[in-house]
C-alpha cells in the first residue's frame, strides 16, 4: 500500500484556502514582530486561523485516506473519508498511462499520473494521482513497459527543424487566445495587471507601426493584425516547448513517447488499444507531400490541455510509407478505392463559395451603415476573403483526393474537415458503424454521404460526400458480407 505525494494535501484542501492565506500573510507582514502584537493579531483573527486549520486538516484527512495499491493484475486507488471510493483498473485494460513532471512539482520529487482506459464518455482521465518518484517507479515496474535501446523494435527522434516546422504548422492564433483566456480565468486580478503592463508596449509598437505605414490602413486593423501575430507566436512557442525533445520508442506491445522541456511528459500507449491512425495535412503540407501521423487512443492527446495525439510530428510521404508499419503495424494503401463523383463538385464547395461571395455584399452594407468605419470594414473583408477562397481551394482538393479503401483487415478513409485533410486508417476490429445519408439533392444525382465510426471515448465521424449509391452498396457487402439491400437515410 502506498500514499499519494504529501503535496496532494494542498490539492485536497479547498481552493478558497488562498483567500484566507493571503490576508494572513499580509497581516503578519504588516505588523512589527513582537509578542504583544502577535497576541493582539491572533485575538482578532482567531476565526480565520481556525478556518484555515480546519481546511488544512480536511485536506490532510483526504490525503491520509487516499491509498494507492498495485497488485499483480490491477491498479487500485482508494479515496474518501466517510464514503470510500475504490477504483480498480486491470493493467490489461489500460489504454495509456501518462507521467507529467511539472516544473513546480519536480523540486518536491512529485509526478502526476494519468491512467486511461477505453471506457468513459468524457475526455477526463479515469484515474489521476500525484505520486512521489519512488512510488511512480514501483508502479511502472508492475505495468507492462517498453524495453529500452537495443530491444526496441522502432525508435524515432525528429530533428529540431522538424519540431520547428510542426510547431509552426499546427500553431494558431485561436490557441494563443485560449491560453490568454485560461491565464485570465485562472490568474484573476494578478493576470489582468500583468497583461495591462505588457499591453502598453504592444500599443506603443502599434502606434509606431501605424505611423510608419505608407498605405492608409486603419489603426484598429493594425492593432488586430498585431494581436493575431502575438497570439500566434504564443501558440508557436507553447508548441515548441511542448514538443521539444520528442522521442518515440516501440516495443512489441507498447509505444512510449516522451516530449516537452518545461513540463516533460511520458506516455505509454498500449498498441492494442489504438483505435485508428490519422494522417493529418493542411494544403501546404499536401503540396509538399508531408504529413503528421496522429493516433486516436484514450488518454493520449484527448485532453485539450495536453499534447496533440501526434505519433510522428512531420514525415514525408515516403517516410510514412516505410515507417508506419514499424510503428503501428498498419500500412497505408494507395489503391483507387471508392471515390466521390466529380460531377457533384457543388456538394463540396457550396458552403465555402457562399461564404466567399457573401462577404462582398455584407461589406458593402456595413460600409453604408457605418460610414466612419468604411476603411476598417474593407480591411476586415479582405482579411476574411483570403481564408474563404483558401477554403474553396481546399474543398476542391478534397473532391479529387477523398476516397474510401477497404482492404483485408484495414479501412482507410481520406477526407477533409475544415482546413485539414485526414487519412484515417483503422482495423475492422475497431470499426463500429457505417452511416449512409442522402439529402433530396443527392437523391436526384444518385449519390450519398458515407460516414465511418470507430471505437473512441467520444464520437468522431469520418465522412466522405458524393459517393455513388452503387459504391455504397458494394462497400456494405464488403464490410458486413450481406447482399441485403441498404436504404440510405432519406432526409427529404
Amino acid at each position: 500500500m502506498y500514499r499519494e505525494h504529501p503535496l496532494k494535501i494542498l490539492k485536497y484542501s479547498a481552493k478558497n484556502i488562498w483567500l484566507l492565506i493571503f490576508p494572513l500573510i499580509r497581516g503578519i507582514w504588516a505588523m512589527n514582530l513582537s509578542v504583544n502584537q502577535l497576541y493582539s493579531w491572533a485575538k482578532g483573527a482567531w476565526l480565520d486561523i481556525i478556518v484555515v486549520l480546519a481546511i488544512m486538516l480536511f485536506g490532510f484527512g483526504k490525503w491520509f485516506f487516499s491509498r494507492v495499491d498495485f497488485d499483480e493484475t490491477s491498479l487500485i486507488h482508494t479515496q474518501g473519508i466517510i464514503f470510500k471510493v475504490k477504483t480498480v483498473i486491470p493493467y490489461q485494460n489500460l489504454a495509456s498511462v501518462t507521467r507529467e513532471y511539472s516544473f513546480y512539482l519536480r523540486p518536491f520529487g512529485a509526478v502526476r499520473i494519468y491512467a486511461d482506459t477505453c471506457s468513459g464518455i468524457l475526455k477526463a482521465p479515469d484515474m489521476k494521482m500525484l505520486l512521489s518518484n519512488k512510488v511512480c517507479n514501483h508502479l511502472f515496474k508492475k505495468i507492462p513497459h517498453a524495453k529500452y535501446d537495443e530491444n526496441s523494435i522502432y525508435k524515432h527522434k525528429p530533428v529540431f527543424l522538424m519540431i520547428f516546422f510542426f510547431s509552426a504548422l499546427f500553431s494558431s492564433s485561436f490557441s494563443g487566445m485560449v491560453y490568454i483566456a485560461a491565464f485570465f480565468i485562472q490568474g484573476g486580478q494578478i493576470a489582468k495587471d500583468i497583461f495591462s503592463a505588457s499591453a502598453a508596449p504592444i500599443e506603443h509598437i502599434t502606434e509606431e507601426a501605424y505611423k510608419s505605414l505608407v498605405v492608409n490602413i486603419p489603426y484598429a486593423a493594425v492593432l488586430i493584425a498585431l494581436l493575431i501575430a502575438v497570439t500566434w507566436l504564443l501558440s508557436f512557442f507553447t508548441n515548441m516547448l511542448r514538443y521539444a525533445g520528442f522521442e518515440l520508442r516501440r516495443d512489441k506491445h507498447i509505444i512510449e513517447i516522451e516530449s516537452g522541456s518545461i513540463t516533460p511528459r511520458k506516455f505509454r500507449i498500449n498498441l492494442r488499444k489504438v483505435n485508428y491512425i490519422d494522417l493529418r495535412q493542411n494544403l501546404i503540407m499536401k503540396l509538399f507531400r508531408v504529413m503528421s501521423v496522429n493516433i486516436k487512443c484514450s488518454g493520449y492527446g484527448t485532453n485539450s490541455r495536453k499534447n496533440m495525439p501526434v505519433l510522428m510530428p512531420v514525415q514525408t510521404k515516403k517516410q510514412v510509407e516505410s515507417n508506419l508499419g514499424k510503428v503501428v503495424k498498419t500500412d497505408i494503401s494507395f489503391s483507387e478505392g471508392f471515390k466521390p463523383e466529380l460531377k457533384s463538385f457543388w456538394q463540396y464547395i457550396w458552403l465555402s463559395v457562399i461564404i466567399s461571395v457573401g462577404i462582398v455584399p455584407i461589406t458593402y452594407i456595413l460600409g453604408e451603415i457605418f460610414d466612419k468605419f468604411r476603411n476598417l470594414t474593407l480591411f476586415v473583408a479582405i482579411m476574411a476573403e483570403i481564408p474563404s477562397i483558401w477554403y474553396v481551394i481546399i474543398n476542391l482538393a478534397a473532391l479529387t483526393t477523398s476516397r474510401i479503401i477497404i482492404e483485408d483487415d484495414n479501412i482507410q478513409v481520406k477526407y477533409a474537415k475544415g482546413f485539414v485533410f485526414h487519412t484515417v486508417i483503422g482495423s475492422r476490429e475497431h470499426f463500429i458503424k457505417l452511416g449512409i445519408h442522402q439529402t433530396p439533392f443527392q437523391k436526384t444525382s444518385g449519390i450519398c454521404t458515407v460516414s465511418f465510426y470507430f471505437h473512441g471515448e467520444t464520437t468522431e465521424v469520418h465522412s466522405v460526400k458524393a459517393i455513388r449509391t452503387s459504391d455504397v452498396l458494394a462497400m456494405n457487402n464488403i464490410l458486413f458480407g450481406s447482399n441485403k439491400k441498404v436504404e440510405p437515410t432519406d432526409f427529404s
Binding site: K86, I89, S119, G120, I121
Partner: protein, 143 residues
C-alpha cells in the same frame, strides 16, 4: 443466472432521510416565512411530497430494482413508470468504481459503477455479501 435485489435496510435509511429532510424544510418554513398562508402551503407541500416519495415512489422503485447475473453478463432492471433494462457483458468492462459507506455490512449502502465501452452501469444499494458475489462474477481482477 442469479437474481439480486436492492437491500431493504437501505430503503429504510432512505425513507428516514427523506422524512427528516421534509421535516427540516417544514421547520425552516415555519421559522422564516412571514406569510402565514404561504408558509402553510409550503409546509403541506413538503410533507405531502416527502410522504409520497418516501412511502410510495421509493419502495416501488426498490421493488423493481433487480440485477440478473450470469457468468457472462449482467442485466439491470429498474423504473417505476418507465421500465429500463440495461445489459452489460463482463468482457466489455474496462474498470470499476466500488463505493462503500461506513457500516456498509448493515446499511446496504454499497454501490458498484461498471465502466464499459461508451458508457457505464450503476449497481445501487447492494447487500455487502451480494456486492462481493457480483465482483467475483465480474472477474478475479476486481475481488
Amino acid at each position: 443466472m442469479k437474481i439480486y435485489h436492492a437491500d431493504r435496510t437501505a430503503l429504510n435509511i432512505l425513507k428516514f432521510a427523506i422524512v427528516a429532510v421534509s421535516a427540516l424544510l417544514d421547520v425552516l418554513s415555519y421559522e422564516f416565512i412571514p406569510f402565514h398562508k404561504l408558509m402553510l402551503f409550503i409546509c403541506i407541500l413538503c410533507t405531502v411530497l416527502g410522504c409520497v416519495i418516501a412511502f410510495i415512489y421509493i419502495p416501488m422503485w426498490f421493488t423493481q430494482l433487480q440485477y440478473h447475473v450470469s457468468p457472462e453478463y449482467i442485466t439491470k432492471k429498474s423504473g417505476v413508470f418507465f421500465k429500463v433494462e440495461q445489459t452489460v457483458k463482463f468482457s466489455s468492462i474496462q474498470y470499476l468504481n466500488i463505493i462503500t459507506s461506513p457500516f456498509s455490512k448493515i446499511t446496504g449502502l454499497n454501490f458498484i459503477i461498471l465502466n464499459v465501452y461508451g458508457g457505464k452501469m450503476l449497481l445501487l444499494f447492494l447487500r455487502h455479501s451480494d456486492s462481493r458475489e457480483i465482483l467475483k462474477y465480474i472477474g478475479d481482477d476486481y475481488c
